[in-house]
């Protein structure tokens, strides 16, 4: 498993890390160019161009992340490379998890790099002092009410779970598309839209159901239960409830993908 993670990381890092480096460098240059003197230079045209380039770069980071995420799964497991990967002495579960973990890591890194680059861009405008104040304030609140730290950790967990679920969803679409005899890429896209629509239907069904019918009683019951419960506990409950709600579709996607790769695999 560690070895799979190692090679997965190598394969992703070779594209991602230079891109992150370029992104951060770009934001530093842009930050320098937003000073007043630079803006006066050639009526601010270089600054404007750089600004556009910066924005394009930011978009590129996210697009590349998504492409890598898809390509690593599709090419490495469902393409010709699958002949090598699926005859390694490792289980299908290990394959999927190694991909998911590294995918989640590069998603997080991309997010961090994006935030960091914006922070660098704004460093001239006293953003850092503001940020420091914010963090200081935060520290004070945590001391006053330790629950806040809990909310934050739950929030991070929720973010992480939704990333993993999202990645697994893409994997499931590709695995389903792979079941087709031809036009497998096209079928993956079709599955993506079909499943998204179905999920939306289910979701709105549940929402409607909450207003009336049997679901109403459940909601009522929950409502009765939470009366008198302190709001802090309630917020924890809601956040953790969201976590579970995100993890469930993720788990469904995982088991679907696992089943297909194990039993229905048919490399071209």
């Amino acid at each position: 498993m560690l070895k799979l993670l190692k090679y997965e990381w190598k394969a992703c890092a070779r594209i991602c890390l230079p891109l992150y480096g370029a992104m951060l460098l770009m934001s530093m240059v842009s930050a320098l160019m937003t000073t007043e003197r630079a803006q006066d230079f050639m009526s601010g045209i270089p600054t404007a161009i750089l600004g556009m380039l910066y924005f394009a770069m930011l978009v590129a980071v996210f697009v590349v992340t998504l492409v890598i995420l898809i390509q690593r799964f599709y090419k490495n497991l469902l393409g010709d490379e699958g002949y090598l990967m699926f005859t390694l002495p490792v289980t299908v579960a290990q394959h999927i998890w190694s991909k998911v973990i590294i995918a989640a890591v590069i998603c997080c890194l991309s997010g961090i790099v994006a935030v960091l680059s914006i922070a660098i861009l704004g460093s001239g405008t006293g953003l850092f002092t503001g940020l420091a104040m914010l963090i200081g304030e935060f520290g004070r609140i945590i001391v006053v009410d330790p629950n806040v730290l809990g909310y934050m950790l739950e929030g991070i967990l929720l973010l992480l779970l939704s990333t993993i679920s999202g990645v697994l969803y893409l994997y499931l679409c590709m695995a389903l598309g792979h079941l087709a005899k031809k036009h497998r890429v096209l079928m993956s896209v079709v599955w993506y839209f079909v499943l998204s629509t179905v999920a939306q239907f289910v979701f709105s069904f549940v929402l409607i159901g909450m207003g009336n019918g049997p679901m109403e009683m459940v909601v009522q019951a929950i409502g009765d239960m939470v009366v008198g419960v302190p709001p802090q506990v309630l917020l924890h409950g809601v956040l953790l409830g969201f976590c579970v709600a995100t993890a469930i579709p993720g788990a469904i996607c995982y088991f679907g993908t696992h089943y297909i790769l194990k039993n229905r695999l048919n490399l071209e």
Partner: protein, 235 residues
């Protein structure tokens, strides 16, 4: 301990793709220490059988056991497989691939692999992407044969390389598998490999039409495997 010698056991093994029967209730037992030729025209089910043995596809009916187990983590660790296509990615160097194999397979012999690379004049620092098609095949064959596996499954290993390298590769295969290991090699270039074969299997439209030792064929039919093949599969 006759049981121990059964490296491959297929019972009623069938695989259908849609309405096409690629393999039709195959019963086959292969022992260790044999060099077996899997022969048949295109589309006769050779690759299907090899994929089933590797667990790359699941049988529609029947069962397949390799080293006593259904294809999975254990069988992958004792089977060295050469697919009929390139599986090399485009970002590794040859040396990275060697590291990769050494990492995942405990029976991989790095020294042997490097020796073979040297004899075939392949630079370990070359990127896989820049290699020619034939060189890629050679690299794949080298890493496959550098393992001390119990079973080598070679799918068309010599089709794409030049005749000079073909001889070297055949000798490599011959000198690299240990006494109790078996080689199952699919090909339609029979004349090239006839001299090294112990047993042959003829596949025709997914049905095994013959499974005999080469000596028996020579004695009973009085002809070479190549001649018999041409006779059986005459169009």
């Amino acid at each position: 301990m006759e049981q121990k010698n059964e490296l491959i056991v297929c019972t009623g093994l069938s695989k259908t793709y849609g309405s096409v029967k690629a393999l039709d209730s195959l019963d086959l037992t292969l022992g260790g220490g044999r060099f077996i030729g899997l022969l048949g025209p295109n589309g006769s089910g050779k690759t299907t059988l090899i994929k089933l043995l590797n667990g790359l596809i699941q049988p529609t009916a029947g069962s397949v056991l390799v080293d006593g187990q259904t294809p999975g983590v254990h069988t992958h660790s004792v089977v060295s497989y050469l697919p009929d296509r390139g599986y090399l990615n485009d970002w590794m160097r040859v040396s990275d691939l060697i590291d990769f194999f050494a990492d995942f397979y405990a029976d991989f012999d790095r020294v042997k692999a490097n020796d073979m690379l040297k004899s075939l004049q392949i630079n370990a620092l070359d990127r896989l992407k820049t290699l020619s098609k034939g060189t890629k095949e050679k690299v794949q064959l080298i890493v496959t044969m550098s393992r001390k596996a119990k079973l080598f499954l070679l799918d068309e290993p010599i089709a794409g390389v030049d005749p000079a390298a073909r001889d070297y590769i055949l000798n490599t295969i011959l000198s690299n598998y240990s006494e109790d290991a078996s080689v199952l090699l699919s090909t339609h270039l029979i004349a090239d490999i006839e001299r090294v074969l112990d047993e042959v299997i003829f596949l025709k439209n997914g049905v095994m039409t013959l499974h005999e030792s080469v000596d028996t064929i020579r004695e009973e039919h009085g002809k070479s495997v190549d001649m018999l093949f041409r006779e059986v599969f005459a169009c």
